[in-house]
Symmetry: C2
Subunit: 218 residues, 2 copies
């Protein structure tokens, strides 16, 4: 039996980018599993197979890490929704439909994402910097949506005046957010794909346009 004297942890250096990524990933794991309260420096370090001190080397304060993680989640969701557009048909209606469906299905509509998001939203009220970060994200999302709506209206041969598309964007954004919430919080109460269908239908009604075109995309 070898004497197990306290020995210093062996380690390998990792590039700055890699480390930051790993630390953010570990943070998201913690939050996903036990909420923001469970995302302690020590627990995060444990998951990243690193000692707590190192975190401070890359993120001066815990808030820096947390807000970086928040941005990462938002970016990830944006990218995931964007990917759905790449595979969509050219038609504006199909694109809008694909966008909505992507946002109301896996992996975006996920309780873990909600936990993270809610934790941050709770901070928005107290922290102006966080509030600004959130507003940026919100406006970016809504602008993207407004463009998709305009394209869908045009594809359907309907007028697309800015005054109307803005209001439509607000309403459609609400539908997506609201259903996303419902799905994240009580996904088991709905059949698979039910919320996506519900969302597309509601949006069709609001826009007065059918988003289903014959021989739809895959």
């Amino acid at each position: 039996m070898t004497e197990q004297i306290a020995t210093r942890k062996s380690f390998r250096r990792a590039g700055e980018d890699k480390r930051r990524e790993d630390l953010i990933a570990a943070t998201l794991e913690c939050v996903a599993e036990s909420g923001l309260a469970g995302a302690t420096i020590r627990e995060i370090a444990l998951r990243a197979d690193v000692t707590p001190g190192l975190i401070r080397y890359y993120f001066p304060t815990k808030d820096d890490l947390i807000s970086a993680a928040y941005r990462a989640v938002m970016d990830r969701m944006t990218v995931q929704a964007g990917d759905a557009l790449k595979n969509a048909a050219d038609d504006g209606r199909a694109r809008l439909s694909a966008f909505v469906t992507a946002n109301l299905g896996q992996p975006i509509m996920d309780p873990h994402n909600l936990s993270l998001w809610a934790g941050f939203i709770a901070l928005v009220h107290a922290d102006p910097i966080m509030a600004a970060a959130h507003r940026d994200g919100y406006l970016r999302f809504r602008d993207e949506l407004e463009i998709l709506i305009r394209e869908a209206l045009i594809a359907a041969g309907k007028p697309a005046e800015p005054h109307h598309t803005r209001r439509h964007a607000i309403a459609v954004n609400a539908i997506i957010d609201g259903l996303w919430l419902e799905g994240c919080l009580a996904g088991d109460m709905f059949a698979k794909g039910e919320l996506a269908v519900t969302g597309v239908s509601a949006i069709e009604a609001v826009l007065g346009v059918s988003l289903q075109i014959e021989g739809g995309a895959a």
Copy 2:
């Protein structure tokens, strides 16, 4: 100059109900001001003008207090929305419209409420008790909404089959939640009453029913 020896805090006994109310109110103040993280036992006790130990007398654990506070918030919002119905006309369409408008205006659509709500939602994923509390509130709200929708459809002479009203309730609930979110987070970006109007319009489109009847309610 009187000797200021450490003297025991004087106190008056309060009824059990009153104390519970006060403690919950103090909890809500804390959460509203600085998020769930700011709602510590000591800070809550301070606001309620009570010593920390007393909290344990009424709420065995902190989670008990927090979840009680969450239920209180939900109940309050439910009551406020319900009040709007009392003053509404008899017509099902007017009632639905009033309900939506109430939920998308003061005092329900308020950043403080959002902070509270988000803080709790962040816990739902990790805490089964909190999850149950939320689900109860959600279903109660949606059921109430479904009844209003059915009445509105009937008032408009439209069929109101359970299969349809359920889906409608899901969609309308999403619209209300989504717009409520938008308003709470960035109320200054919208004209007063804009979101309520947007919500009613969107719901009219989804239901295929006009909620505005000639000589509308006050």
